[in-house]
Symmetry: C2
Subunit: 100 residues, 2 copies
């Protein structure tokens, strides 16, 4: 558990917002075309629309979040869905509380 690496991800409001939104996809995103649930998370396009930033920026952000193990990608056909990695997020809270 690398506190600094994860803190870097959280040091940006958009990335924090993405994590918050993914906590409750039903409330924050429209339904997907080919899937009627959010079990694997939300596709990149929806996240991009909600942030208003460019496609490449969001892809970069999601990549950095994935490198820190905060999100998990799943490919479904043309789309990549991202969901929170709750285990790592909880482990981060625990590490902060214990180490910091």
């Amino acid at each position: 558990m690398n506190i600094v690496e994860i803190s870097k991800v959280l040091a940006n409001q958009t990335r924090v917002n993405i994590l918050k939104w993914l906590k409750n996809p039903e409330a924050n995103f429209p339904p997907h075309q080919e899937i009627d649930h959010f079990d694997d998370g939300v596709c990149v396009g929806f996240i991009q629309d909600k942030t208003g930033l460019s496609q490449s920026t969001i892809s970069t952000y999601l990549n950095s979040m994935q490198n820190a193990n905060l999100v998990i990608p799943t490919r479904h056909g043309k789309w990549t869905y991202y969901r929170r990695n709750e285990e790592v997020i909880q482990a981060y809270f625990k590490a902060l509380k214990e180490e910091l």
Copy 2:
């Protein structure tokens, strides 16, 4: 409680180290000349020595940590002592757990 602002402070290993060291000053710093306790924390010079970074850099770091309310400065004569602001640190943990 601004998650992003505090995360920016924690997005640097030296600043995280300083917070960790200040948790247990007796174990991490030599005793002060004019005071025989760490109730108000540790003077800037000791922190600088332990990090190996320049005086201006450490002063800048401590200033950013103070702006985020993570540490509290106290002046004693020529020295400024810094200690952790446990209330804000705990509030940050709580905010992360609830909001993130």
